[in-house]
Each structure stands twice: as structure tokens, then as C-alpha cells.
């Protein structure tokens, strides 16, 4: 600042502003925590006072206790790993298939047009309809689970990759061509880096879908995993286990979502905001 400011008074809000910032930071942490605590307390209240019968809604404390007990059993963790394995394979295979195919379809106008209708038709098909089919063909095992998860995770990732490749700045490509870069090099140096954010978004979406379908396969077909445990709990009327498992699934889903959302944010960070779609 210039010397003219020498006699300008220091802004009178200096101290109150600092205090406001501190309060702000405190609120950012405290409010969400309070909110969760309040919700859990409400749950406990509703159940304990039998507003909703304890048969139907086990108390929060009961459910968490059941969860805690479960976490200490080996069967829980082996089921947990089964589910994670199914999820990971589903996501992995879907990525291995969708990304290359998406790049090819995205780069070639002809291919894109040829495959447009089949993709548009197959996309909205709820993967759930494959359940009876898989039950009858591949059986109630990991294969079915992985097939289902892969099928579901494939489509969003394919579409996102195609968008990402198609959205490459044509000017950048022309510049590459002017510099004598071959087709493969252009792909490697220009197209791929520019599509990474889209692919990252696609992987985030697909990670969620894969988990849902892996779990679904276990729930409906009895493939080993957490879904199967839920099935048993329901069959034997173990309501508190049902809730405990639901809580656990929620956290598993949350962990996966946060992890891939963080990855997506990193991929987007060095890229000007070109995000496609939301949620």
C-alpha cells in the first residue's frame, strides 16, 4: 500500500473479524457432529418409548451393540471381504472394458453413430433384471455376482469415457497434428489427459453401482457376502442384526464414495471446470 495509508485508521473490525473466523471454523465441525448426535438420540427415543415398536425398530443402542458384536466375529469379516471382492472385481473388469471401448467409440465418429442406438437401449435396462437369468445360468456364486456388478458398472463408465474423449478441445488436437504427432501419440498426450476428469467421475459413479449390484447379487441369490447375511438375518427375524448390517453397509458405501470422490476431485483439480453431469 502507498504511504497515503499511513494515517488511514486500521480497519475497526480487526478483532471482531478474527473472532468471527474462529467461530466459523468451530461451527464447521461442531454443527455436523451435533446434527448426527441429535439424529441418533431421536432414533433411541423413538424406539425406547415404543413410538415405533421395538420389534420393528430396534433401539439405536441395541443396533450398535449388535454391530459391535458382529464386528468381532470372523463370519462378519469373511462376508465383508467377499462383498469387497465382488465389488472390486466388478469395478475392475468394468473399467478394463469400458475405458478402452469408450476411447475407441469416442474417437471415431462412425463407430459412435453405429453403436449409439444399442447403447441408448441397453443403458436404461435395470441390471436387476439379470438376476433370474444369472441364477439359472451361472449359478449362485461369485461369477454371477461379478457379472452383475460388471454389467451395471460398465455403462456409466462407458458413457463418461465417450463424453470425455469427445470433449477434447479440437484446437489442441489440431495443434498436435500440426506438430506432426501421430494418431497414437495424439491419443496418449492430448486426448487421454484431457478425458481423465470425465473418467474419474465415471469411476466414482461406477464404484457406487458396483457395490449396489454386488450386494444385490448376495441378497437375492445367496452368493456369500454381506448381502447373504442380511438375507439370513431377515429369514430368522434377527431385526437388530438387520439394522446392524444396514449400518455397516452404509459405512462401507460411504467409505467407497468418499475415496473415489476424493480421487475425482484430484483429477479435476488441474483441469478447468469441465465436469459432466452431477450426482
Amino acid at each position: 500500500m502507498t504511504s497515503e495509508l499511513a494515517d488511514a485508521p486500521v480497519a475497526p473490525e480487526a478483532t471482531p473479524v478474527w473472532r468471527a473466523v474462529q467461530a466459523h471454523r468451530l461451527a464447521a465441525v461442531a454443527l455436523p457432529v451435533l446434527s448426527v448426535a441429535a439424529a441418533l438420540a431421536l432414533w433411541e427415543l423413538l424406539s425406547r418409548t415404543n413410538t415405533i415398536s421395538q420389534r420393528d425398530l430396534p433401539a439405536m443402542s441395541t443396533s450398535f451393540r449388535a454391530l459391535w458384536t458382529m464386528l468381532q466375529t470372523g463370519t462378519f469379516w469373511s462376508a465383508f471381504l467377499d462383498t469387497v471382492r465382488g465389488w472390486a472385481l466388478g469395478l475392475g473388469i468394468a473399467t478394463a472394458l469400458a475405458v478402452p471401448l469408450g476411447i475407441v467409440l469416442g474417437s471415431s465418429e462412425v463407430a459412435a453413430r453405429a453403436f449409439r442406438v444399442p447403447i441408448e437401449f441397453l443403458r436404461p435396462i435395470p441390471s436387476a433384471v439379470l438376476i433370474p437369468l444369472l441364477f439359472l445360468t451361472l449359478g449362485t456364486n461369485l461369477k454371477s455376482e461379478v457379472f452383475l456388478a460388471t454389467f451395471g458398472a460398465f455403462w456409466p463408465l462407458l458413457v463418461q469415457t465417450m463424453y470425455g474423449v469427445r470433449d477434447v478441445d479440437p484446437l489442441a488436437l489440431d495443434t498436435g497434428r500440426a506438430f506432426g504427432l501421430g494418431w497414437l501419440e495424439r491419443l496418449h498426450r492430448i486426448t487421454l489427459p484431457s478425458s481423465v476428469p470425465y473418467i474419474a467421475t465415471g469411476i466414482r459413479i461406477s464404484s457406487t453401482v458396483s457395490l449396489i449390484l454386488a450386494f444385490t447379487a448376495e441378497l437375492f441369490m445367496g452368493v456369500p457376502g454381506l448381502g447373504q447375511k442380511v438375507n439370513f438375518a431377515q429369514a430368522y427375524g434377527l431385526t437388530d442384526q438387520l439394522f446392524a448390517l444396514a449400518i455397516a453397509m452404509g459405512f462401507l458405501g460411504l467409505a467407497i464414495h468418499l475415496a473415489f470422490a476424493a480421487l475425482e476431485k484430484r483429477a479435476l483439480r488441474w483441469h478447468p471446470s469441465q465436469r459432466q453431469g452431477a450426482a
Partner: protein
């Protein structure tokens, strides 16, 4: 009508404080057309937002018709620079102009009459049922002006309204604003970075100094009305005023001493030896 006393606005605190506005004081008379001019980044928009009640000043006060401005006053209307983001793209010109009137205590026919009158004043009657984005930039800004007019304000604030419009259209819009000022007699405060524009339009030009923002000088513009793009700008008084304001602003950019009088000029004398 409008009084600004010791206005200051500071962001942040301690040594990271940014003094957007240092100390601004001026007043605007009823029915006057006042222009505020200054180099880029000197806080013109911040100043206007404080006057409009959209920002709370750190120091000083704004008085509109004697009453302090703490939030956007009923008697004021604002025309923004980014017309594209100020107008609503999901509805027609008519509804855009109508929106601010909906909460005024008027009958339906009164509202319609105001809308029609305002749109006619800006020559867009043919486009009442178009969408704003179907119109050119200059026309969209005219819609924004019509919207402000229909609101029947006592004070019209305009924040560099023609900066995003191309040069040829700008002249037409300047004349439109003058016509409208003549027709409706609304007190107008017009912020711009274009010196020629400020002199062409104003009764008085308020020249702002650079950060921290202060009123450097208030230059009365005694050019005859009605103004004309060609005739008025050909007058020697116009050139003198122009030079004077340029000097004031250029000094600010270069931070050197300003030449004391507007006579010691560098442009060629009209007579030759």
C-alpha cells in the same frame, strides 16, 4: 437527493486489509445526471454497491432523501453491467420487466401500463414476447433499462452498463439514456470508465482517485443540452473537459504530479502563428 458522507469500505483486517474505498464524499441533486469516472480497479463497483445498499460500508453513510441506506431502498433501481446474467432467460421480455412490479401495490392494468410505457421508451415494443437471449446485447441492456424505468425509482444507478456492448451500439444507448432522463426526469448516477462517455452524459463528473478510492475532483459539465454525438463532441469545451479529466486519471495511473491548469495543453492550438 443523494448524499454520500465519508464512505469507506475495507475487506479483511490487520495488514492484510484491502481498502476498497478510502474516503468518498459527494452529493447528487434532484434530477441531476451525475457520472462517476475513474481508472480500472479503483472500486467503482464497490462504491456503487454501497450506495445501492447491497454492501455494508465499513465507515461513513449513504443518505437517500435524508434517510440512511442500510439495504436496497424502495426508491432506487439498478442497471448492471452484465445484462446477460441480470435478466432472466427463462421468461419473456415482458415478464422480465414486470417482475419488480409484482410486489408493488398496483393493479394488474397499472402494471401492464407501466411495462408497456417503459418498453416503448426504449423502443422494444415489438419484442415484448421474445426471450432476452433472442435479442442482441444492446437490446438486452435496453430491456434492463426498461425494467429499471418501469419500477419508477427516484434514483437510477447504472454500473458501467455499456461496457459489454459494442462501440457502435454504445452511442445509441447513450442517447437513449439521455432521452429517457429528459423524458422521465429521474436522478441518475452513472458509473463508467469511459471518459468521453462520462462527459457526454453528465451534468457533473465525479472523478475518483486510485486505491484507496477518494473523490479527486468534481468537474461541472456546462455543455448545452440536448447533447448530440457529433455536435457536442465537436465543441472545444468538450475537448478541454476531456483533457482535464484524462489528466486527472492519467496522473493517478502514473502517480506523478498533476499539471495545475487545463490550459497548458499538448494538443495543437486552434490558431497558427
Amino acid at each position: 437527493m443523494l448524499e454520500i458522507n465519508d464512505l469507506g469500505k475495507t475487506y479483511g483486517s490487520g495488514d492484510k486489509a484491502t481498502h476498497a474505498i478510502g474516503n468518498v464524499a459527494f452529493h447528487v441533486e434532484v434530477g441531476e445526471f451525475a457520472c462517476v469516472v475513474g481508472p480500472s480497479g479503483c472500486g467503482k463497483t464497490t462504491l456503487l454497491k454501497c450506495i445501492a445498499g447491497l454492501l455494508k460500508p465499513s465507515r461513513g453513510e449513504v443518505l437517500l432523501r435524508g434517510r440512511p441506506v442500510t439495504e436496497p431502498p424502495e426508491a432506487m433501481a439498478l442497471v448492471f453491467q452484465e445484462y446477460g446474467r441480470s435478466l432472466m432467460p427463462w421468461t419473456t421480455v415482458r415478464n422480465n420487466v414486470l417482475l419488480p412490479l409484482r410486489h408493488k401495490k398496483l393493479s394488474q392494468s397499472e402494471r401492464t401500463a407501466l411495462v408497456d410505457e417503459a418498453v416503448a421508451a426504449v423502443d422494444l415494443t415489438r419484442f415484448l414476447d421474445h426471450y432476452p437471449w433472442q435479442l442482441s446485447g444492446g437490446m438486452q441492456q435496453r430491456v434492463a433499462i426498461a425494467r429499471a424505468l418501469a419500477y419508477q425509482p427516484f434514483l437510477l444507478l447504472m454500473d458501467e452498463p455499456f461496457a459489454s456492448v459494442d462501440a457502435q451500439v454504445r452511442g445509441d444507448l447513450e442517447d437513449l439514456v439521455l432521452r429517457v432522463h429528459e423524458q422521465f426526469g429521474i436522478t441518475t448516477l452513472f458509473v463508467t470508465h469511459d471518459i468521453d462517455e462520462s462527459i457526454y452524459l453528465a451534468d457533473r463528473v465525479i472523478v475518483l482517485a486510485h486505491a484507496p478510492t477518494e473523490v479527486k475532483e468534481i468537474v461541472p459539465v456546462a455543455l448545452p443540452r440536448p447533447r448530440d454525438q457529433i455536435a457536442t463532441k465537436a465543441l472545444p469545451e468538450f475537448a478541454e473537459l476531456r483533457t482535464h479529466v484524462h489528466r486527472l486519471i492519467r496522473h493517478e495511473r502514473r502517480e506523478e504530479e498533476v499539471a495545475p491548469a487545463p490550459i497548458a495543453t499538448t494538443h495543437s492550438e486552434p490558431t497558427h502563428a
